[in-house]
């Protein structure tokens, strides 16, 4: 089935790809992604989501960021759970429900030191940009496959931005084909 995109969509997709490739390059070199490549996209995608009228998702991201700086670490996760439940109680589409859940899960993984901050920001930016948490499934699948290869190669850490880029590309392709 042939895919068709408008010229503006093609330009936006190329920009998105260029951004992710830049993140992958930094990740492969140093296991770090500079704030310049993670914070502006996070702000832009949050503004885009606000423009789309889905403010609960953006509010959740802002509140989670603030919660992570509270002086009582043991209360971070319970507080975040509470805020996420409150956000879920606001009527919305199933896509925005998935988005809220994925944003919470990604932030929680970072909070318990399982995920890197740059990876978490990349995932949250993409979820905000597309407004659909289902994007997380191909990303974690790609991450799982990458992790398996990492285990076989006896590597302790993997550059997760590769999985994020591949997962996002797969999700875009699946969405376009459907």
């Amino acid at each position: 089935m042939p895919l068709s995109f408008s010229p503006i969509q093609v330009i936006l997709l190329l920009l998105l790809l260029a951004w992710l490739v830049a993140c992958v390059v930094f990740d492969l070199r140093s296991r770090q992604v500079p704030a310049l490549l993670t914070i502006p996209p996070l702000i832009i995608s949050a503004l885009w989501r606000l423009f789309q009228g889905e403010w609960p998702v953006v509010v959740l991201v802002v509140v989670l960021i603030l919660i992570s700086d509270l002086p009582w670490p043991m209360w971070h996760i319970p507080l975040a759970c509470l805020v996420t439940i409150l956000a879920l109680s606001i009527p919305g589409t199933s896509e925005s429900t998935y988005a809220l859940l994925v944003i919470f899960a990604t932030w929680a993984l970072w909070e318990i030191d399982v995920a890197g901050g740059a990876d978490a920001k990349l995932i949250i930016s993409l979820v905000l940009l597309f407004g659909n948490g289902l994007l997380f499934i191909p990303i974690v699948l790609a991450g799982g496959i990458q992790g398996l290869f990492g285990l076989i190669a006896r590597k302790k850490t993997i550059p997760y931005s590769v999985a994020i880029t591949l997962g996002m590309a797969g999700w875009l392709w699946l969405s376009a084909v459907r």
Partner: protein, 55 residues
């Protein structure tokens, strides 16, 4: 004395580290959760609606 400014920890973290084991575990957990939701989601919603109807 210089006051310590509380920075936004999440935004300042530039680390892109994931352990291979964790990536595999997360993939398995998400797959199982999504699969369970696909299989049981409608039934659970029906039960919740039945209970809500009785109340």
């Amino acid at each position: 004395m210089r006051k310590e400014v509380r920075a936004v920890r999440f935004l300042k973290d530039t680390a892109a580290i994931e352990t291979a084991e964790v990536a595999v575990i997360i993939a398995v957990v998400v797959l199982v959760a999504y699969g369970a939701y696909q299989i049981l989601g409608q039934k659970i919603a029906q039960v919740v609606q039945d209970v809500a109807g009785r109340i």
